[in-house]
Amino acid sequence: MPRPSSRHQQQAQQKPPRPKVCPFCEHMAKYIDYKDYPTLKPYTDYFGNIRQRYYTGICLKHQKMLREAIERARFMGMLAYRK
């Protein structure tokens, strides 16, 4: 019977984590439009806050553009400030 491998060895056997890919970089987005409700909506959570870059995988450049777009959309009443 082979001896059960220790936890340390098991971790080493696991695959390396998948690299995050920015969904806007994939489409080569140069500008994120504040009028585009369907694309902005998924990047806000239930309470209306902007989702963290850590969870969505957006690059910093596009996160800044997204923030601008979401803030404009909020001003125009398309997105909620707070639920």
Binding site: K30, D33, K35, F75, M76, G77
Partner: protein, 187 residues
């Protein structure tokens, strides 16, 4: 969709998004739009694209209005005159919100009124298909559980059947031994 490029270097392209209340009569609506267009015309602006979105729900009440109409206008105008137009728009009655934005270079106009309706329809179908898939998965789970229970029941029955004769044998041997060991019976 057309890409917007200013005809001369002095002028720039601006995008105006207007939000006005839902309960205006058609006359008032037309008048409001005329006034807004008049502001730009006075300043020597040239309209490029006009996109009326129609009625839409608001994410939060603005001046106690739960719904509003959106209008998006693209103008080519002298950048120095935009400030005054912005101020004039603030004064106009029946305007809930307005936003003047300079779109990026070579901006391709997208009519989001059509986009939004398409998205609404797609979302419905997507949610329906998701619900169907979830139901399928649930049904499969139920079927598997039933199978497992049936298997278990069979196994239990077999075990009982296997266990029963052994008990009977033990009882039999006990009885036999009793009989044999009984001294009253003369053999």
């Amino acid at each position: 969709m057309p890409t917007l490029v200013p005809t001369s270097e002095e002028n720039a392209i601006y995008e105006l998004c207007l939000l006005y209340p839902d309960n205006l009569s058609q006359k008032e609506e037309a008048q409001l739009l005329k006034e807004v267009e008049g502001l730009f015309d006075e300043a020597g602006g040239k309209q490029m694209v006009k996109d009326l979105w129609g009625k839409r729900g608001l994410a939060y009440p603005i001046k106690k209005h739960a719904e509003g109409n959106f209008a998006v206008l693209y103008y080519e105008i002298d950048p120095q005159k935009i400030k005054e137009i912005n101020h004039q728009l603030l004064i106009l009655p029946n305007v809930l919100r307005h936003l003047i934005v300079k779109p990026p270079k070579n901006y391709e106009v997208v009519k989001y009124s059509e986009h939004y309706e398409k998205w609404l329809k797609e979302r419905k179908t997507v949610s329906e298909t998701k619900a169907k898939e979830e139901e399928k998965v649930l049904q499969q789970k139920v079927v598997e559980r039933a199978r497992r229970q049936a298997k278990r029941a069979e196994e239990v029955k077999k075990e009982e059947q296997a266990a029963k004769p052994a008990v009977q044998e033990a009882e039999l041997t006990e009885k036999l031994e009793k009989l044999i060991s009984d001294e009253d019976i003369g053999l």
